[in-house]
Symmetry: C2
Subunit: 322 residues, 2 copies
């Protein structure tokens, strides 16, 4: 393959869209960001993306070989469409692949954002060199993706599995996934916020009661802040979150037993507060599986994982075509 | 590859060992069974196996190409050793591969029995033609294996994952896996028996109280029998088991989303009593993943799955060597 030429990765979220040019060896050369303003409709959004890509490509001074998009889902990968009225209001059945392919005249790949981020981390981050990498993103939701021998694990019909919704506690909160007490319902940011709001309503945490202007305004970050300041209720919530995360990791290990689990997302910015408890819990299941051999690592590409992984998907598309 | 020649599959359990000759297209031509009498020690056991293999090979009237063993674990596949003092008392660090290779002068493969059974079912049973098959065996324990594109899914270091121990309910019973409320602790035969014994002790089931000569003698099969006869406590236990199994299947779908899940094992001989409840529970999670697209099927090779899969492992070993 010619050394010359770059890949373009696009990371499309509910709030912002980022695009970057990436070398064929996984180096992010330049990137830019724009608000996507989804409520203005897909046409306006597609125009924003096209201009953003033109800007970053201009900086590259090299031909673009292919282009990849990692997008907040659900998606229809086969048809290259975004089907996401949830975090991109009004974006139903939006063909994002065709306009980009026509405008830039290169192959265009579309992947789920969790899959793209995991591809990026496996290619150029904490998963480099490992044959089996799970990436768990704990933020507003819980994203799950698994890269095996450099390829995204896909489910039946090419569908994206949702390992963020494995069962943790059937006595837990209801989730839109149809179950009670899945991982997301217990450890995602909004779940932690809900537990914190209950603690504040129940007058169990002086810290949380005064942390925000109203009880409904209490967020997960307040809990971690309170724990750092020694608030007992916050420490308990952090401990509970750590135990739930450890239980999720244990089930991932029981079923998949990957080499590396890469941890990322807003909630895991406070991983330091939870790490000891998570590791202690996991030691308990190092009995019938070698849990200690599974490396737990924080993301190394951070917010760039999505751009890098989208570029990697673009590269894989070229290789498939060969 | 020459059409001539057969494969030999050996299925080594804690009680019996079976061996069979299998055609290269997955047809079981002939098989025999012997008690393994593990307590007499590995030397005696290995001799039993050798004689058994000689007997079945004699019936084949064709050269043996390779030989595979599916054995109750833990195993050390790399070194070809059985490390199983649990269900094969005294069998620690027993090299089963070398003596068979020397005696029959063909390549010998060693696999975990759950993996072998899944290979068999994928090759010649309910998983035929599917690219991603999970096999769940619910009996004395809960076995889990996953065949993807014809290959056994292995964990870090080549270790066998233990998906039978994914978390279902942290308020559940303690398990030797280190966790509370894993799938095996709730739905394996001994777990159902324990719940039934509690029901009988608590005078909650006239049927169970008189089902066996003593409360400790009540087994899982009594529960299914009682349910068939309409005993309310047994019906409740069967319902509870179905819900736990469905929750386990839901987590498998969330994480892996295979094409087919093959169900087998003693407890699932009563699948008919639980099927409706299992399917109803699973419909609830057909929201963010296409759960309905995952086929639930009973094993088609039944007790032959182990022999067939061991023979398939033997065949794969030959193909690797090419």
């Amino acid at each position: 393959m010619a050394e010359q030429g770059v890949l373009v990765g696009i990371d499309l979220g509910g709030t912002n869209v980022r695009a970057g040019v990436v070398s064929q060896s996984g180096e992010l050369l330049h990137w830019e960001e724009q608000p996507i303003e989804a409520q203005r409709g897909p046409e306006s959004g597609l125009a924003t993306i096209a201009v953003l890509v033109e800007n970053v490509v201009e900086q590259a001074h090299q031909p673009v070989l292919s282009l990849g998009i990692g997008s907040t889902g659900p998606l229809d990968r086969e048809r290259g469409c975004i089907q996401n009225p949830y975090t991109l209001p009004g974006w139903e059945d939006v063909d994002i692949v065709t306009p980009l392919r026509e405008r830039f005249n290169v192959p265009v790949a579309l992947e789920n954002d969790a899959d793209a981020a995991a591809l990026g981390e496996a290619w150029a981050g904490a998963g480099r060199g490992a044959a089996s990498i799970v990436m768990l993103t704990i933020g507003t939701g819980v994203g799950f993706a698994w890269i095996r021998n450099g390829e995204i694990h896909r489910g039946v019909g090419g569908e994206h599995p949702e390992g963020g919704h494995i069962l943790i506690d059937p006595a837990g909160p209801e989730c839109y996934c149809g179950a009670r007490g899945c991982l997301e319902s217990l450890v995602a940011g909004p779940a932690i916020a809900r537990f914190a709001q209950q603690a504040a309503s129940g007058k169990r945490s002086p810290f949380l009661e005064s942390a925000a202007e109203a009880i409904e305004a209490i967020e997960a970050r307040h809990v971690f802040e309170g724990a750092r300041q020694g608030d007992p209720a916050c420490l308990e919530l952090v401990d509970q979150t750590a135990v739930h995360i450890a239980r999720g990791l244990a089930s991932i290990m029981m079923m998949i037993l990957p080499e590396v689990i890469v941890l990322t997302g807003g909630v895991l910015r406070s991983y330091g507060l939870m790490e000891e408890r998570i590791r202690t819990e996991l030691e308990r299941v190092d009995v019938i599986i070698p849990a200690r051999q599974v490396k737990l690592q924080l993301s190394q590409t951070g917010q760039q994982a999505g751009i890098l992984g989208a570029a990697r998907a673009a590269q894989l598309l070229l290789q498939e075509a060969l």
